[in-house]
Amino acid sequence: MITVEGLTRTYGAYTAVDDVSFVAQPGRVTGFLGPNGAGKTTTMRIMVGLTPPTRGSVTIGGHRYADIPNPGRHVGVLLDASAQHAGRTGREILTLGARTMGLPMSRVDEMLALVSLDDSEAKRRLRNYSLGMKQRLGIAHALLGDPSVLILDEPANGLDPAGIRWMRGLLKGYADRGGTVLLSSHLLHEVELIADEMILIGHGRIVAQGDKESLLREERPSTLVTSLDNDRLAAALQAAGVGVTPAGGGLRVDADPTSVGRAALEAGVVLTDLRSGSRGLEDLFLQLTASTQREQPAPPTAPFAQTQPTQGAVR
């Protein structure tokens, strides 16, 4: 089990990780999802002691990482598959890990077989590996010590579709045997099929967490509306304390269609289109992390772009 409590990391005036708390349970795959620069890597680096936190703490199975003896035997870590000596062969990299952890050399062959790196590939130097091969080697390295907790940063990066499916099966089986798996991604579709739990992070803050169903259930009502006077309608809705963002030629309103229709009636605005804007997980993800999406600058009604955490049912 991984327990993160009030984790904060600042770089000068910039807060990369902002008061992050969550729990990754044993027996479950926890997906750590957020756009680029959301603070996923920084959070994971703090977990294994590579970056000191500004505030807060992380325990893994009840221990600080630095207090775990021979940590490779308990916690498998993959933070950056390229952070290995480019001049070492894949086999040599695993050999160094196995020796440090005090494992028999047969373990190296087992892991190479597990991630389907054949003999000739294992003899190549890392600089000649494709990103997908590096990723497989990194997963093999993380699994070397037969750990009960796995921390993987963007492990699907560079894997082909078959590789992603293979990894999904691997991690599911791992969690089914009681292991704790935390994996990060910036792509929802990579995570939603594997993860039992999802933690959504944007701009260093947790914006939602829970399993897929509870996340969707907790989704706030949403309405798409177009009228003859959008500005007046928006003003009326905002005066009532409802979040409004421009969407295409109309507005997206954080309220159900009935309330929006009533507000329009009271404001005397003619509606030309009114429908439920209820969305799937993808939209929820985009909406929750909207203020940090590079591709979508924060809308002018930023204070109403909701970023309050949606707490799903967390056991």
Binding site: M1, Q25, P26, G27, R45, V48, G49, L50, T51, P52, I60, G61, G62, H63, Y65, A66, D67, I68, P69, N70, P71, G72, R73, H74, V77, L79, D80, S82, A83, Q84, H85, A86, G87, R88, E92, L96, G97, R99, T100, M101, G102, H141, D146, P147, S148, V149, D176, R177, G178, G179
Partner: protein, 277 residues
Amino acid sequence: MSTTTSSTPTPGAAVPRTIDVSGTAPVPFGRLVAVELRKSYDTRAGFWLLGTIAGLVVLAEGIATAVGITQDNSPGLDFGAFVGVAAFVTAVLLPVLGIMLVTSEWGQRTAMVTFSLEPRRPRVVAAKYVVGLILTVATALVAVAIGAVCNAFLGLGIGGADWTFGWDYFVGFLIVQSLAMTSGFALATLLLSTPAAIVVFFAYSYVVPTILALASAFLDWFEPISDYIDFQRAQVPLRDLSISGGEQWGQLLVSAAVWLVVPLALGLRRILRAEVK
């Protein structure tokens, strides 16, 4: 998942929230040293550095033999002198070795993996330093072995070799070469970059003594101070272990503090606090 619990957890069953680490021993120091030793030669750069050291020692001692044979009866070319010749080579290359032991980890970002597997960073740095000492001793032994071969050749060439071997010179050689390696190592922990550490090391071992000598020549009051800063000169009486007296020891210890202890202390502090990227 042998470390989690004695029974195999099944889906849906209560799963342990804590990891029992009482049965796991920390990584023994000897194992860290063995792994770091392996890392010193399992890359091309490391392999060729060690190979170059051995090759240049052979070359230097071979040239000394050739000179000894052609200039018959060149004075003082005994077994111990061969070791002295080797010192010219190793004094340049062992500091580079000390530097590479530290910086190869940062240049290639492998520190992320190393410090994940052993978060107690001082143990890793200590293991690397022990590897530096092991390789220094190995270099000295290689120099002696090659020296013996060369001396035998010289004996054949000029008829009768001098097998006088000064143990004081050998021990002095070991100490001075270890200090040279340590200087490189200390600067590397501080700078964490191969080129920067190499440049600074050679600047300090060749430029600083010159500047100190110049300054002492022009400023009378500086000369006694300079003796306590010039680490290179303070090591001279160490070469044959003739070092004696409070003044010589004082100069050695003070200059060593300036050039070894301070960079190493600051460097260790940097490594312990560094965000490993």
